[in-house]
């Protein structure tokens, strides 16, 4: 699932912080599965994953596998970078929440708000792979 190193939009990503609340997310990421958290009580999905629902404060939140598809809400191409330009932005998942991420597999000029994208996983430096997004 790792990204081809010849994609100029790929930037090295450090190992993410993993903690008790998010261990299951990263374990699934190692298997190429993208999880989000949903609240059993209010039914809302949220991002980033928490043990306590940020909408209703319920402690009954559960993991749910997501196709990881959505549309670009906004983005910016960072040119002031020692590793070359890279794109950061938010994807609004079809389940609702917006996810901060990097975009791959697309030249900067082809990025646009509303573009449909899907999750992929990129290897990190010594940690689990992390979600990034590329055009569908």
């Amino acid at each position: 699932m790792s990204e081809a190193s010849n994609d100029p939009m790929v930037r090295p990503i450090p190992a993410p912080v993993v903690n008790l609340e998010t261990q299951a997310f990263w374990d699934a990421a190692r298997e190429g599965r993208f999880l989000i958290k949903r609240c059993v009580d209010c039914g809302k999905a949220h991002w980033y994953p928490r043990a306590i629902c940020p909408y209703c404060a319920s402690g009954e939140t559960v993991w749910e596998e997501s196709p990881g598809e959505g549309a670009i809400y906004t983005y910016s191409v960072m040119r002031r970078s020692q590793t070359g330009p890279y794109a950061i932005g938010y994807v609004t998942l079809d389940e609702g929440p917006a996810v901060l991420t990097n975009f791959l597999g697309v030249p900067p000029d082809a990025l646009s708000i509303g573009l449909r994208v899907k999750v992929r996983f990129q290897d990190t430096d010594g940690g689990p792979p992390v979600p990034v997004f590329a055009p569908i």
């Binding site: 930037r11 990503i13 450090p14 993410p16 912080v17 993993v18 903690n19 998010t22 990263w26 809302k44 999905a45 949220h46 991002w47 980033y48 994953p49 928490r50 940020p54 909408y55 809400y73 906004t74 983005y75 910016s76 191409v77 960072m78 040119r79 002031r80 970078s81 890279y86 950061i88 932005g89 938010y90 609004t92 998942l93 609702g96 929440p97 917006a98 996810v99 901060l100 991420t101 990097n102 900067p108 708000i113 990190t124 992390v130």
Partner: protein, 391 residues
Amino acid sequence: MSIKGKAYIMGAFEHPLRDAPDKTTPQLHAECARGALADAGLTKDDIDGYFCAGDAPGFGALSMIDYMGLKNVRHLDSTETGGSSYIVHVGHAAEAIAAGKCSVALITLAGRPRQARGAGGRGGGFGEPAPEAGFENIYGGSTHNTYGMCAMRHMYEYGTTSEQLAWIKVAASHHAQWNEHAFLRDVVTVEDVISSRMISDPLHLLDCCVVTDGGGALIVTSPEIARSLNRPKVRVMGAGEAPKGPRGGLDLDLTHSGAVWSGPKAFGEAGVTPADIKYASIYDSFTITVLMQIEDLGFCAKGEGGRFVSDGNLISGVGKLPFNTDGGGLCNNHPTNRGGITKVIEAVRQLRGEAHPKVQVPNCDLAIAHGTGGSLGTRHGSATVILEREA
């Protein structure tokens, strides 16, 4: 309880340095404190309240109170909202004074980002990673590209253009040319801004603020102390503060800032409206920061900011809303990557009639100082104060 009219800004000092290789950060804090005390006509031992934020080194308020030898402090507050912290502190100082918890409050900011790039300090937490760290900090987010995301979305929703954003920098540069301490004093054009190199789309180099060493300090006092001092009296009329973040990701909205909440609180407390404001200090980490906040504070309708800031409308003596007449963070000073205190300082200069004659707003009796700390693209703290010159 309201703070309206219950506290006064009686001392203000902006450190003249923009590059400080030969001074320490605590020293800069203390020099700013001395400057503000001298401005007010007070001494160190008059201080009984101290306010600082994440730029204060070591143990924050405790380290700095000890370093400066403040021996009469009975109220302290190290609220941290990034660059807007010091505007929050003005409101908190007024609250503490109104409640009788202190009568002479000192607020300081200082740092040396030019000497140790990236050491601006975010404060608090004792080294524990932020809860969002695993899902955000890995993507190369910076102030440039997270504000770039806001600008990109604003352009998408409202048709805002790079030329319109450039007018904000142009206006700041017109003011900075008169400020002998300003980091950038050259007047620039819209063409200069949009032809400067792209930093993070759609923000160009000249859409970004300067990086400077230095600092500033304020003295906020009770009405009784203010009456005893031989300085023009700048009355705190209203204050508001508001946090905003992605809030779980549903209905993400990067084109509005917390000013939509902090602004009405401050205006309401002061009993005035945006139309009454003669001078505006508006946080200017980037041009888009100014544009969004001008809209959110109600100086124009949402989405109209691009048209509002164009054609010199922010230039003193030219436009309807003179802003950041010191040159702001875009040209003058953004000490330790935090522009909140200089926003209050220039508002105080304007209300006292002590701004540079070329930019002084005639009969400037009512001003706003507004700031945003953190990032509009992720999570930020907005703070607004309304200040009035007492006749």
